[in-house]
Symmetry: C2
Subunit: 123 residues, 2 copies
DNA sequence: TGCGAAACTGGCCGGGTGGCCAGTCCTTAT
DNA sequence: ATAAGGACTGGCCACCCGGCCAGTTTCGCA
Protein backbone atom coordinates (compact mmCIF):
# COMPACT_ATOMS: atom_id res chain seq x y z
CA UNK A 1 0.00 0.00 0.00
CA UNK A 2 2.40 2.61 -1.00
CA UNK A 3 1.08 6.11 -1.51
CA UNK A 4 2.72 6.17 -4.90
CA UNK A 5 0.57 8.35 -7.16
CA UNK A 6 1.67 6.72 -10.38
CA UNK A 7 0.33 3.27 -11.21
CA UNK A 8 2.46 0.56 -12.73
CA UNK A 9 3.53 0.91 -16.32
CA UNK A 10 1.78 -1.87 -18.21
CA UNK A 11 3.76 -3.45 -21.01
CA UNK A 12 3.14 -6.08 -23.65
CA UNK A 13 5.67 -8.19 -25.50
CA UNK A 14 5.71 -8.64 -29.26
CA UNK A 15 8.78 -10.73 -29.73
CA UNK A 16 9.37 -13.31 -32.39
CA UNK A 17 12.14 -15.12 -30.55
CA UNK A 18 10.57 -17.19 -27.74
CA UNK A 19 13.81 -17.42 -25.79
CA UNK A 20 14.26 -13.67 -25.79
CA UNK A 21 10.64 -13.17 -24.82
CA UNK A 22 11.14 -15.49 -21.88
CA UNK A 23 14.25 -13.73 -20.66
CA UNK A 24 12.58 -10.35 -20.89
CA UNK A 25 9.44 -11.54 -19.15
CA UNK A 26 11.54 -12.90 -16.32
CA UNK A 27 13.68 -9.80 -15.99
CA UNK A 28 10.76 -7.39 -16.13
CA UNK A 29 8.61 -9.44 -13.82
CA UNK A 30 10.72 -8.51 -10.88
CA UNK A 31 10.85 -4.79 -11.52
CA UNK A 32 8.76 -2.64 -9.21
CA UNK A 33 6.77 0.03 -11.02
CA UNK A 34 6.00 -1.94 -14.12
CA UNK A 35 4.38 -5.19 -15.09
CA UNK A 36 3.24 -7.13 -18.11
CA UNK A 37 -0.31 -6.73 -19.30
CA UNK A 38 -2.88 -9.31 -18.37
CA UNK A 39 -4.67 -10.97 -21.25
CA UNK A 40 -7.02 -8.47 -22.85
CA UNK A 41 -5.60 -5.59 -20.90
CA UNK A 42 -4.46 -2.63 -22.97
CA UNK A 43 -0.82 -1.82 -22.43
CA UNK A 44 0.67 1.62 -22.41
CA UNK A 45 3.76 0.51 -24.25
CA UNK A 46 4.96 -2.48 -26.25
CA UNK A 47 8.34 -4.15 -26.47
CA UNK A 48 8.94 -5.25 -30.03
CA UNK A 49 11.70 -7.38 -31.49
CA UNK A 50 11.08 -8.58 -34.99
CA UNK A 51 13.10 -11.21 -36.73
CA UNK A 52 15.88 -9.36 -38.47
CA UNK A 53 15.75 -11.97 -41.22
CA UNK A 54 15.19 -9.79 -44.24
CA UNK A 55 16.52 -6.69 -42.53
CA UNK A 56 20.25 -7.14 -43.17
CA UNK A 57 20.18 -6.15 -46.80
CA UNK A 58 19.34 -2.50 -46.65
CA UNK A 59 18.53 -1.24 -50.08
CA UNK A 60 20.85 1.46 -51.33
CA UNK A 61 18.59 4.32 -52.27
CA UNK A 62 19.88 7.68 -53.39
CA UNK A 63 18.80 10.83 -51.59
CA UNK A 64 16.57 11.81 -54.47
CA UNK A 65 14.91 8.43 -54.50
CA UNK A 66 14.21 8.80 -50.80
CA UNK A 67 12.66 12.21 -51.47
CA UNK A 68 10.38 10.75 -54.10
CA UNK A 69 9.59 7.71 -51.98
CA UNK A 70 8.54 9.84 -49.03
CA UNK A 71 6.12 11.82 -51.14
CA UNK A 72 4.81 8.65 -52.74
CA UNK A 73 4.00 7.33 -49.28
CA UNK A 74 1.93 10.47 -48.76
CA UNK A 75 -0.14 9.50 -51.75
CA UNK A 76 1.27 12.22 -53.98
CA UNK A 77 0.96 11.83 -57.75
CA UNK A 78 3.93 12.20 -60.06
CA UNK A 79 2.75 15.68 -60.91
CA UNK A 80 2.54 16.71 -57.27
CA UNK A 81 5.96 15.23 -56.54
CA UNK A 82 7.40 17.12 -59.49
CA UNK A 83 6.03 20.38 -58.14
CA UNK A 84 7.25 19.67 -54.62
CA UNK A 85 10.79 18.88 -55.73
CA UNK A 86 10.89 21.41 -58.56
CA UNK A 87 11.72 18.83 -61.18
CA UNK A 88 9.88 17.60 -64.27
CA UNK A 89 7.31 14.82 -64.24
CA UNK A 90 9.68 12.84 -66.43
CA UNK A 91 12.37 12.96 -63.81
CA UNK A 92 9.90 11.83 -61.19
CA UNK A 93 8.96 8.89 -63.37
CA UNK A 94 12.65 8.15 -63.77
CA UNK A 95 13.14 7.97 -60.00
CA UNK A 96 9.93 6.02 -59.51
CA UNK A 97 11.15 3.53 -62.08
CA UNK A 98 14.42 3.13 -60.21
CA UNK A 99 12.51 2.64 -56.96
CA UNK A 100 10.34 -0.06 -58.48
CA UNK A 101 13.49 -1.87 -59.61
CA UNK A 102 15.39 -1.55 -56.34
CA UNK A 103 12.40 -2.38 -54.17
CA UNK A 104 11.35 -5.19 -56.47
CA UNK A 105 7.87 -3.73 -56.65
CA UNK A 106 5.23 -3.92 -59.36
CA UNK A 107 3.82 -0.43 -58.78
CA UNK A 108 4.00 2.60 -56.52
CA UNK A 109 1.65 1.09 -53.95
CA UNK A 110 3.74 -2.04 -53.75
CA UNK A 111 6.89 0.06 -53.53
CA UNK A 112 5.61 1.99 -50.52
CA UNK A 113 4.50 -1.23 -48.82
CA UNK A 114 7.88 -2.88 -49.39
CA UNK A 115 9.77 0.18 -48.22
CA UNK A 116 7.68 0.33 -45.06
CA UNK A 117 8.21 -3.36 -44.38
CA UNK A 118 11.96 -3.01 -44.78
CA UNK A 119 12.04 0.02 -42.56
CA UNK A 120 13.23 2.27 -45.36
CA UNK A 121 10.40 4.64 -44.56
CA UNK A 122 8.11 5.20 -41.63
CA UNK A 123 4.41 5.45 -42.25
CA UNK B 1 33.63 -10.96 -14.58
CA UNK B 2 30.65 -13.16 -14.20
CA UNK B 3 30.65 -16.32 -16.24
CA UNK B 4 27.18 -15.48 -17.50
CA UNK B 5 26.99 -16.70 -21.07
CA UNK B 6 24.22 -14.35 -22.11
CA UNK B 7 25.06 -10.68 -22.61
CA UNK B 8 22.74 -7.88 -21.61
CA UNK B 9 19.59 -7.35 -23.60
CA UNK B 10 19.99 -4.00 -25.30
CA UNK B 11 16.83 -1.92 -25.63
CA UNK B 12 15.87 1.37 -27.22
CA UNK B 13 12.97 3.62 -26.36
CA UNK B 14 10.59 5.09 -28.91
CA UNK B 15 8.13 6.88 -26.74
CA UNK B 16 6.21 10.02 -27.57
CA UNK B 17 5.48 10.97 -23.98
CA UNK B 18 8.68 12.36 -22.43
CA UNK B 19 7.48 11.72 -18.87
CA UNK B 20 6.79 8.07 -19.60
CA UNK B 21 10.12 7.72 -21.35
CA UNK B 22 11.85 9.11 -18.27
CA UNK B 23 10.10 6.77 -15.89
CA UNK B 24 10.89 3.76 -18.04
CA UNK B 25 14.50 4.74 -18.48
CA UNK B 26 14.86 5.06 -14.73
CA UNK B 27 13.15 1.78 -13.97
CA UNK B 28 15.03 -0.18 -16.59
CA UNK B 29 18.35 1.39 -15.77
CA UNK B 30 18.57 -0.54 -12.55
CA UNK B 31 17.67 -3.94 -13.93
CA UNK B 32 20.51 -6.42 -14.20
CA UNK B 33 20.58 -8.28 -17.47
CA UNK B 34 19.38 -5.48 -19.67
CA UNK B 35 20.30 -1.92 -20.49
CA UNK B 36 19.44 0.88 -22.87
CA UNK B 37 21.36 1.17 -26.10
CA UNK B 38 24.20 3.63 -26.35
CA UNK B 39 23.91 6.22 -29.12
CA UNK B 40 24.44 4.49 -32.43
CA UNK B 41 24.28 1.05 -30.92
CA UNK B 42 21.79 -1.33 -32.49
CA UNK B 43 19.27 -2.65 -30.00
CA UNK B 44 17.77 -6.10 -29.98
CA UNK B 45 14.34 -4.82 -29.03
CA UNK B 46 12.46 -1.56 -28.89
CA UNK B 47 9.91 -0.25 -26.42
CA UNK B 48 7.30 1.71 -28.30
CA UNK B 49 4.45 3.86 -27.04
CA UNK B 50 2.80 5.96 -29.68
CA UNK B 51 0.27 8.66 -29.08
CA UNK B 52 -3.11 6.98 -29.38
CA UNK B 53 -4.27 10.05 -31.29
CA UNK B 54 -6.31 8.83 -34.20
CA UNK B 55 -6.47 5.26 -32.97
CA UNK B 56 -9.81 5.34 -31.13
CA UNK B 57 -12.00 5.73 -34.17
CA UNK B 58 -11.65 2.45 -35.96
CA UNK B 59 -12.99 2.69 -39.47
CA UNK B 60 -15.89 0.39 -40.19
CA UNK B 61 -14.84 -1.61 -43.23
CA UNK B 62 -16.90 -4.45 -44.66
CA UNK B 63 -15.38 -7.88 -45.08
CA UNK B 64 -15.18 -7.44 -48.81
CA UNK B 65 -13.44 -4.11 -48.44
CA UNK B 66 -10.90 -5.76 -46.17
CA UNK B 67 -10.34 -8.44 -48.79
CA UNK B 68 -9.69 -5.84 -51.45
CA UNK B 69 -7.55 -3.75 -49.13
CA UNK B 70 -5.32 -6.69 -48.27
CA UNK B 71 -4.66 -7.42 -51.92
CA UNK B 72 -4.09 -3.74 -52.63
CA UNK B 73 -1.39 -3.75 -49.95
CA UNK B 74 0.27 -6.57 -51.86
CA UNK B 75 0.52 -4.31 -54.86
CA UNK B 76 -2.19 -6.13 -56.79
CA UNK B 77 -3.90 -4.29 -59.66
CA UNK B 78 -7.68 -4.10 -59.94
CA UNK B 79 -7.53 -6.82 -62.56
CA UNK B 80 -5.50 -9.13 -60.32
CA UNK B 81 -7.80 -8.47 -57.37
CA UNK B 82 -10.79 -9.26 -59.56
CA UNK B 83 -9.28 -12.60 -60.53
CA UNK B 84 -8.33 -13.42 -56.95
CA UNK B 85 -11.79 -12.73 -55.58
CA UNK B 86 -13.68 -14.02 -58.62
CA UNK B 87 -15.52 -10.77 -59.19
CA UNK B 88 -15.47 -8.25 -62.01
CA UNK B 89 -13.03 -5.37 -62.28
CA UNK B 90 -15.98 -3.02 -61.93
CA UNK B 91 -16.82 -4.46 -58.56
CA UNK B 92 -13.23 -4.10 -57.47
CA UNK B 93 -13.29 -0.45 -58.48
CA UNK B 94 -16.50 -0.08 -56.53
CA UNK B 95 -14.87 -1.39 -53.35
CA UNK B 96 -11.72 0.61 -53.96
CA UNK B 97 -13.84 3.71 -54.28
CA UNK B 98 -15.52 2.97 -50.96
CA UNK B 99 -12.11 2.44 -49.37
CA UNK B 100 -10.82 5.76 -50.67
CA UNK B 101 -13.86 7.45 -49.13
CA UNK B 102 -13.70 5.69 -45.78
CA UNK B 103 -9.95 6.02 -45.45
CA UNK B 104 -9.99 9.59 -46.68
CA UNK B 105 -7.36 8.75 -49.25
CA UNK B 106 -6.61 10.26 -52.64
CA UNK B 107 -5.50 7.01 -54.27
CA UNK B 108 -4.79 3.34 -53.59
CA UNK B 109 -1.26 4.06 -52.40
CA UNK B 110 -2.54 6.63 -49.95
CA UNK B 111 -5.27 4.22 -48.86
CA UNK B 112 -2.81 1.48 -48.01
CA UNK B 113 -0.60 3.93 -46.14
CA UNK B 114 -3.53 5.26 -44.12
CA UNK B 115 -4.81 1.78 -43.35
CA UNK B 116 -1.38 0.70 -42.17
CA UNK B 117 -1.04 3.78 -39.99
CA UNK B 118 -4.42 3.15 -38.40
CA UNK B 119 -3.62 -0.48 -37.81
CA UNK B 120 -6.39 -1.66 -40.11
CA UNK B 121 -3.86 -3.79 -41.94
CA UNK B 122 -0.43 -5.14 -41.17
CA UNK B 123 2.28 -4.69 -43.74
C1' DT C 1 -43.66 -6.38 -46.16
C1' DG C 2 -41.09 -2.88 -47.28
C1' DC C 3 -36.62 -0.61 -46.64
C1' DG C 4 -31.73 -0.01 -46.34
C1' DA C 5 -27.11 -1.89 -46.64
C1' DA C 6 -23.88 -4.71 -48.91
C1' DA C 7 -22.27 -6.86 -52.92
C1' DC C 8 -22.13 -7.02 -57.53
C1' DT C 9 -22.02 -5.49 -62.72
C1' DG C 10 -22.02 -2.50 -66.89
C1' DG C 11 -20.46 1.66 -69.95
C1' DC C 12 -17.89 5.76 -70.49
C1' DC C 13 -13.89 8.80 -70.17
C1' DG C 14 -10.19 12.06 -68.66
C1' DG C 15 -6.10 11.79 -66.56
C1' DG C 16 -2.43 9.13 -64.29
C1' DT C 17 1.04 5.52 -64.54
C1' DG C 18 4.91 2.88 -66.05
C1' DG C 19 7.95 1.12 -69.86
C1' DC C 20 10.91 2.22 -73.65
C1' DC C 21 13.87 5.02 -76.30
C1' DA C 22 17.19 8.74 -76.39
C1' DG C 23 19.85 12.61 -74.68
C1' DT C 24 22.59 16.26 -71.48
C1' DC C 25 25.19 17.76 -67.28
C1' DC C 26 28.08 16.94 -63.38
C1' DT C 27 30.91 14.62 -60.01
C1' DT C 28 33.81 10.86 -58.46
C1' DA C 29 36.78 7.05 -59.25
C1' DT C 30 40.38 4.67 -62.15
C1' DA D 1 41.61 11.05 -69.97
C1' DT D 2 38.12 7.87 -69.57
C1' DA D 3 34.88 5.63 -67.67
C1' DA D 4 30.82 5.21 -64.40
C1' DG D 5 27.01 6.56 -61.92
C1' DG D 6 23.58 9.95 -60.39
C1' DA D 7 20.30 13.60 -61.58
C1' DC D 8 17.76 15.45 -64.94
C1' DT D 9 14.70 15.99 -69.35
C1' DG D 10 12.09 14.84 -73.61
C1' DG D 11 8.72 12.01 -76.62
C1' DC D 12 5.79 8.16 -77.33
C1' DC D 13 2.39 4.82 -76.05
C1' DA D 14 -0.41 0.93 -74.00
C1' DC D 15 -2.50 0.33 -70.06
C1' DC D 16 -4.45 1.31 -65.51
C1' DC D 17 -7.04 4.12 -62.31
C1' DG D 18 -10.66 6.59 -60.36
C1' DG D 19 -15.07 9.11 -60.94
C1' DC D 20 -19.41 9.39 -63.06
C1' DC D 21 -23.71 7.44 -64.56
C1' DA D 22 -26.94 3.50 -64.12
C1' DG D 23 -28.67 -1.08 -62.80
C1' DT D 24 -29.53 -6.02 -60.23
C1' DT D 25 -29.66 -9.31 -56.34
C1' DT D 26 -29.62 -10.75 -51.65
C1' DC D 27 -29.79 -10.26 -46.96
C1' DG D 28 -31.42 -8.84 -42.32
C1' DC D 29 -34.11 -5.82 -39.72
C1' DA D 30 -37.98 -2.98 -38.41
Amino acid sequence: MSADTTPDIVLTLEIDDPALADRLATLLGSVAGLRLAAPGETAIATIVARDPRVMPEDIALTQRELDVLALMAEGASNKMIARQLNISVHTVKFHVGSLLDKLDATGRTDAVAHAARRGVIEL
